[in-house]
């Protein structure tokens, strides 16, 4: 080892997904030093960027499970946090639609399950009432179950808000830094990374698809992550009036099934598929997946299929052999695992962070509140539920750059792109800029603005 010892932090959090960022933010709220270590060039660039972006009530979780508890708690925490930071959320509500007698038969037990989960607002609807709610559903609806609390949320802003606040609270963000080895000594754990060594008293493993790999570095062999791919199709904004609320399938033993949902950006989404893979980085879409989704979509909402497709993408759920989240603290070695955060991690993120804090404190990490915390950050609004900069006369008057629309399909202004580039966690590529502003994610996919946006990203004269 070189003469200069790398600096020592109290806690190193491995993984800058929505969970790791939430944990870093939470811990940085106490009087400890925190480093957030992320292999990729940006936060929220793995599973946390490619999901169905629903803020779940947890009505259909397994009662009594850790997931059930943390989803319900996370729903409340993130709901409040979103108001404070202006993370876009829309309370669209959901309706589960039964297409077969078997599905209709299971609605009552689902309602009971919701009650067991502490969610009391579900109501069973007759077919006509379901059509009244979602008139464009295809023929054959037998009944439905409402879940009024299900909401849609911006997953990108959520992750960014956590990371931004963690930074403001003094955490260190280490992007482009992959943890490759762990060595535990009496008081200090040394992490080998692609950018040198990091020394930490405590380590939190929130590495998503890579959580089992890190866990094995500690000598454990208790779970294996299986990437379960979910492909999704996003339809043009002109389809938005077709789907005013989330249309959920009745879950079966084969998983949650395919939903139709409005998105916070004003589109309609169809998906996801569910398929176990071997490759942990394979987020490609497939012909079979697209065909399957279009088939489902045609049955659920035939008129949706007449609309143009804006995008297709895929995300990987970190499935494991365990049904529940795998959260476990090893007090002796000052190590906390947060694994198997499969399909509800966005919703549960703040509750997972809170839970992590309690686990660490219970294992001996002293967590005294930090005095003089900075105010919560307010994030730029990229959702459709609230006025966007291009719609705001006041904003344009004070700064004409908010009147200069660059991305026409998504109505993103030069002012917003400038803000993103000057923000505490600036994007490192067009994808990152898209997650912060929506630039180029619209129906033309850059036909009109791609070149402008690329050059804005590389311009040094934006100031």
């Amino acid at each position: 080892m070189s003469a200069a010892e790398p600096a020592l932090v109290d806690v190193a959090v491995i993984g800058g997904g929505v969970v790791g960022c939430a944990v870093a933010r939470e811990l940085a709220g106490f009087d400890v030093s925190v480093a957030l270590i992320e292999a990729r060039g940006d936060v929220g660039d793995a599973t946390s960027k490619a999901n169905t972006a629903i803020l779940h009530t947890g009505f259909d979780a397994v009662p009594g499970s850790l997931e059930a508890r943390l989803v319900a708690r996370g729903y409340a925490l993130l709901g409040d946090y979103a108001k404070a930071t202006r993370i876009p959320v829309e309370g669209t509500g959901a309706v589960l639609v039964a297409w077969t007698d078997e599905e209709r038969g299971s609605l009552e037990s689902l309602r009971q399950k919701a009650i067991a989960n502490g969610y009391l607002d579900c109501e069973i609807l007759a077919s006509e009432a379901v059509y009244a709610l979602v008139p464009h559903l295809g023929p054959g609806v037998l009944a439905g179950l409402t879940v009024p609390g299900e909401s849609i949320i911006c997953p990108w802003t959520t992750t960014l808000a956590y990371a931004t606040e963690a930074l403001a609270r003094g955490a260190t963000l280490m992007l482009g830094t992959r943890v490759t080895g762990v060595s535990v000594a009496d008081d200090v754990t040394t992490l080998a990374t692609t950018r040198g060594l990091v020394r930490a008293r405590w380590v939190v493993n929130a590495a998503g698809m890579g959580a089992d790999v890190i866990d094995r570095m500690y000598g454990f062999d208790r779970f294996t992550v299986v990437p379960r791919r979910g492909e999704l199709i996003v339809f043009d904004k002109q389809a938005r009036p077709l789907a005013d609320c989330i249309v959920l399938p009745v879950p079966s033993s084969r998983g949650k099934g395919v939903l139709v949902s409005p998105t916070i950006y004003g589109n309609v989404m169809l998906g996801p598929t569910s398929e176990n893979l071997a490759d942990r980085e394979d987020t490609s879409t497939t012909a079979a997946g697209m065909e399957f989704l279009l088939g489902k979509g045609r049955a659920i909402m035939p008129s949706l299929l007449e609309e143009e497709v804006t995008a297709a993408y895929a995300g990987l759920r970190a499935a494991t052999e365990h049904g529940d989240y795998v959260v476990d603290v090893d007090a002796d070695r000052r190590y906390l695992l947060i694994g198997g955060i499969r399909s509800t991690g966005l919703t549960a993120s703040m509750a997972l962070a809170e839970h992590a804090g309690l686990q660490l404190a219970g294992a001996g990490l002293a967590l005294a509140p930090r005095v003089g915390l900075p105010p919560v950050p307010v994030l730029p609004n990229i959702g459709e539920a609230f006025p966007r900069p291009y719609q705001r006369a006041d904003l344009i008057e004070s700064d004409p750059e908010y009147g200069a629309i660059v991305c026409f399909c998504e109505r993103v202004t030069r002012g917003e792109i400038r803000d993103a580039l000057r923000s505490p966690i600036p994007p490192c590529d067009v994808d990152g800029l898209r997650r912060r502003t929506r630039a180029t994610m619209g129906r033309c996919q850059g036909f009109a603005c791609g070149a402008d946006v690329e050059s804005a990203l590389h311009a040094t004269d934006l100031a």
């Binding site: 490609s284 804006t310 297709a312 006025p387 719609q391 750059e401 009147g403 996919q445 050059s455 590389h458």
Partner: protein, 419 residues
């Protein structure tokens, strides 16, 4: 939010300063009508602004010019004619029957007019709209973006354009892509088309030269894109045999497959044409909304710029007539695509209102070198006509308006098909 938005009044609001909108504005000014033209780009001119090859202006200006020269001439013409041209001004919504909301660096404002001309053009469907699966790496573009990157003098990030390109589509615009790639130092190594034939001859007229040694895979579809960060290859599938092969490349250009920029038209509740997805118009280019007209590729995705411009000239006279008042339009008959066509434009027939250039524009879905066109109304065949020019997917097929002579206003929809 501060008070009510500032309202600007105009006789006519033209939305979109491409060949259609600019020519409409020039025409209206010559008739003494006040015009505000709104263009969302920082420069007026529309698509020709970024297509540097020659092939513009033949039918409207009776000369051949490059895209930028053509665009410049139209812009200058509009300004000289006294049109109030507002650039960097995007129409985002309607705020009444004939008034729209605009965002520009000057502010958020309303433009109210007695008539509106929608001339918002068309764009190419990107890869995602064509549902081409696979990885989502850098290096996948449309021709529009390619030309914007190459000709707009933009920084090319990490090289969105590589050195070996596959050009998807063999329409006129595809050849334009090939030329632009060459300018950017990228070789087109393969052109693919799902059709039997390529649209080469007219392309040579457009582009002024051919591209020797570019192999073309016909009846072939790109069925997958491979490469995690940068395109590494595409999977090609033969439509007739289902046979697949992997073809190495680092750039994929999706060309053609046009769709109108019809967001405003649809948001305004105008009747839309399911075939071309733009608004339905009649020969006077009236949409279904009173006082709202259309022009250019919004109505026929995609014809050449001169045809779009001549729409503009035509619509100027119609709008002026509308502003003078006069009698409302006659009853209309719907004109629909029959076998072998995807759309007909205009889609409404009013015998007193001949369309621009007295031509009907159609989009063929199959190739015929000497097509027999059949016009039907109900069960009745009105006309069978052997046409001496080809019908071919990938370019507009034009018919004289006279094929609709004899249509009975009360006898229901008319179809035009291939016999």
């Amino acid at each position: 939010m501060t008070g009510p938005p500032l309202t600007v009044q105009a006789d006519v609001a033209v939305i979109g300063a491409g060949p259609a909108g600019l020519t409409a504005a020039i025409g209206l000014r010559r008739l003494g009508v006040g015009v505000v033209v709104l263009e969302r780009e920082a420069e007026a001119g529309g698509i020709p602004r970024i297509t540097h090859h020659t092939g513009y202006g033949l039918r409207d200006l009776h000369r051949m010019m490059t895209g930028p020269a053509y665009a410049e001439r139209l812009v200058q013409g509009a300004v000289d004619a006294g049109a109030d041209l507002r650039i960097g001004a995007m129409v985002t919504d309607w705020s009444g029957d004939r008034s729209v909301m605009v965002t520009s660096p000057e502010g958020r404002w309303r433009l109210s007019a007695q008539a509106i001309v929608l001339a918002t053009g068309a764009r190419e469907r990107p890869r995602s709209a064509r549902l081409v699966p696979g990885d989502r790496p850098a290096g996948v573009l449309t021709t529009g973006m390619l030309q914007d990157v190459v000709h707009g003098g933009r920084a090319v990030s990490g090289g969105s354009i590589g050195s070996r390109a596959v050009v998807v589509g063999a329409e006129l615009v595809s050849w334009s892509a090939v030329l632009t790639l060459r300018e950017a130092g990228c070789r087109a190594v393969l052109m693919t088309t799902e059709h039997e034939r390529i649209e080469a001859p007219a392309a040579l007229v457009w582009a002024g030269r051919s591209v020797p040694g570019l192999p073309v895979s016909r009846r072939t579809r790109v069925t997958r894109i491979m490469g995690r960060h940068r395109v590494e290859a595409v999977e090609l599938t033969r439509l007739d045999t289902g046979q697949t092969r992997t073809f190495a490349c680092d750039t994929v250009i999706f060309t053609g497959d046009w769709i109108p920029d019809s967001e405003l038209a649809r948001a305004g509740g105008l009747d839309m044409d399911p075939g071309h997805r733009g608004p339905v118009v009649d020969g006077a280019l009236r949409t279904s909304a009173h006082g709202v007209f259309g022009a250019g590729n919004l109505l026929h995705p995609v014809d050449t710029a001169d045809v779009a411009a001549l729409d503009g000239r035509h619509v100027a006279g119609q709008v002026a007539r509308f502003l003078e008042g006069g009698t409302g339009p006659q009853a209309a008959t719907r004109v629909l695509p029959g076998a072998g066509f995807a759309w007909v434009s205009p889609g409404l027939l009013r015998p007193a209102d001949p369309p621009p250039r007295e031509r009907l524009l159609l989009w063929a879905t199959e190739h015929r070198s000497a097509p027999r066109v059949v016009v039907r109304q109900g069960d009745r065949v009105l006309r069978r006509r052997l046409v001496p020019w080809p019908a071919s997917p990938g370019r507009v097929f034009r018919l004289p308006w006279s094929v609709l002579a004899g249509v009975h206003p009360e006898a229901g929809d008319v179809t035009i098909g291939l016999g």
